[in-house]
């Protein structure tokens, strides 16, 4: 059976070019870059090139830092715990602002800090699943240490007004972090235009390998490392550097940014074609205006059909989609974004997310368009809560 992968917000295929770039660094060029001998020094040019690709990818300046780490979860934890140690435990701040629809790597870290006495504001989102920059402005107090708002949401694809939020924070002298995991390769990400202090990303979300990520730190922004140890990464992140991972992430960044035009035109066109077909089914709600979303994502709510059952049926037909969040699959809770936009409680468990990539073909889209309505029909026929 032909298999179709439409779960690219969860993880992506490693671009074969990326794999080719990484391959030499396992069995052949395995040195530790910190070593003084040729096995150590021979890996450095490729690492330098990868760093360059990362800096260019987000247009960072040479004076800024990009710390290579193990994933965006680590990056998000590093920023938030770092601010706790720097500005809260080690300063006079006591407040963090975030949203109700951040990734758990942000919200769970904030919940952990709440237990330690930190005040956290979780801004509610509107019916499209976003906040307004004024919400941030109004929530800032004299004791606010950090604002953390994602660039784009993983479940809906909704784009947040990070530029306005960044300026609002700057005006009030508050540090601003953005989780840009879902923005890299889907939107232009330029840290010169958007004055964030911290920005996090994960390679496996843009056709790089799993287990490697990056943390941008603007020059002058405070940083307390999460991983203490040897002097790797200028003392900002210890641990032997994952050379193959870094080289792969650099290449993946270059390709992601290089393919941005394609993403914003072709991937968008394919997504819209699919979305049109989905939206044509009765009693289906697509979350968020298209223009406000990343070009690859559609989150739809299919009344009367439980999300997991839909995923199961699609999977039987060879189509990989998701209920909205890979994390949700291990827990029993409703999709948090569906709950947060909360138009209708009955829809909280009816989400299905299609997330495309530059590897998605028109043929695949056509196949999904053919299969999807049949699956919905079958499940609505079984459903106890849907009467056609």
């Amino acid at each position: 059976m032909q298999r179709i992968y439409m779960d690219n917000n969860a993880t992506t295929i490693v671009d074969p070019e990326v794999f080719l770039a990484m391959e030499p660094f396992f069995v052949r060029m395995y040195g530790n870059p910190n070593s003084l001998h040729s096995f150590g020094s021979e890996v450095k040019p490729s690492m330098a090139m990868a760093m360059e690709q990362l800096y260019q990818g987000i247009n960072a300046s040479d004076d800024d830092d990009i710390v290579v780490n193990s994933c965006a979860t680590e990056g998000n934890n590093t920023v938030i715990m770092g601010i706790y140690f720097h500005s809260i435990l080690g300063g006079d701040k006591n407040h963090i602002i975030t949203t109700q629809v951040e990734h758990p790597a942000v919200t769970e870290t904030c919940r952990f800090l709440e237990k330690l006495g930190v005040e956290v504001t979780y801004l509610p989102v509107n019916e499209e699943g976003v906040i307004h920059s004024d919400d941030v402005k109004n929530a800032i107090t004299d004791r606010t240490a950090l604002v953390s708002v994602m660039w784009a949401n993983n479940e809906t694809g909704m784009i947040f007004p990070v530029k306005q939020i960044a300026y609002a924070c700057k005006n009030r002298g508050v540090l601003f972090h953005t989780d840009a995991v879902q923005a890299i390769g889907k939107l232009p990400v330029n840290v010169q235009e958007v004055p964030v202090d911290y920005l996090t990303f994960s390679a496996h979300k843009f056709h790089g390998p799993k287990g490697v990520g990056g943390l941008f730190i603007r020059e002058g922004a405070p940083m307390v490392p999460l991983l203490h140890g040897g002097e790797h990464m200028g003392g900002l992140r210890s641990g032997t550097i994952n050379v193959a991972g870094l080289v792969g992430m650099g290449k993946a960044m270059e390709l992601a940014v290089g393919n941005l035009d394609y993403e914003l035109s072709e991937v968008l066109r394919l997504r819209n074609k699919l979305e049109d077909a989905i939206a044509a089914i009765p009693d289906v709600l697509v979350v968020g205006k298209r223009i406000h979303r990343t070009p690859n994502t559609t989150l739809a709510s299919v009344r009367g059909v439980e999300g997991e059952a839909l995923i199961w049926d699609l999977n039987r037909q060879g189509i990989a989609a998701s209920t909205g969040s890979a994390c949700a699959s291990e827990s029993l809770e409703a999709n948090p974004v569906m709950a947060a936009i909360g138009a209708d409680k009955d829809l909280a468990h009816t989400g299905v997310r299609f997330s495309l990539s530059r590897f998605t073909t028109e043929e695949e889209i056509d196949h999904v368009i053919e299969i999807f309505p049949r699956v919905v029909e079958r499940l609505r026929d079984i459903s106890s809560t849907y009467a056609a």
Binding site: A309, H349, Y386
Partner: protein, 165 residues
């Protein structure tokens, strides 16, 4: 991780559907319709029984479900287990029986552990149908402590799972 039987029942649930008053009358039985769960909670099931008032025997059983694959497969096997039993016998069907019946071989669980809760509703809805039929309060049929409302796992169920594994 899922048994073939779960996959088969999900793909082709034999007992899905509904039963009308007219159909029940034709079979010579009384129609019982029981609902359990809610869409907003993530799972909902509706059970249809045709019960012979003379013998208390369940003549036919069908279901509809808003739930995941495991919930649908569990409901289907539950319906099958009900048919031919008396209402009192049916009450004794537990989610453990349901899960067992979904196994391909006796030693391998039919579903991963985090999906066990999805079979519990099949058991709860029987209780509700029986209470409607007998016109008694559900609590008289069930005196177990509910551990988790949404997942509907009772302490008794958990103990039973532990014992059986």
């Amino acid at each position: 991780e899922y048994s073939q039987e779960v996959n088969r029942r999900m793909a082709e649930p034999e007992h899905r559907g509904d039963i009308t008053e007219v159909q029940a009358l034709k079979m010579g039985g009384k129609l019982i319709v029981a609902d359990y769960g809610a869409e907003s909670c993530g799972d909902a099931v509706r059970l249809f029984w045709v019960v012979d008032p003379a013998t208390d025997r369940i003549l036919d059983c069908k279901f509809k479900s808003f739930g995941c694959g495991t919930a649908i497969a569990s409901s289907d096997i539950m319906a099958e287990l009900c048919i031919g039993k008396t209402v009192d016998e049916a009450i004794k069907i537990t989610n453990i029986d349901v899960e067992y019946a979904l196994r391909d071989n006796p030693d391998t669980p039919a579903v991963p552990p985090q999906k066990m809760h999805c079979s519990v509703m099949a058991y709860d809805v029987i209780k509700r149908a029986a209470s409607i039929y007998k016109n008694v309060d559900e609590s008289t049929l069930e005196d177990e402590v509910i551990v988790c409302e949404c997942a509907r796992v009772s302490l008794g169920t958990i103990e039973e799972v532990i014992r059986l594994n």
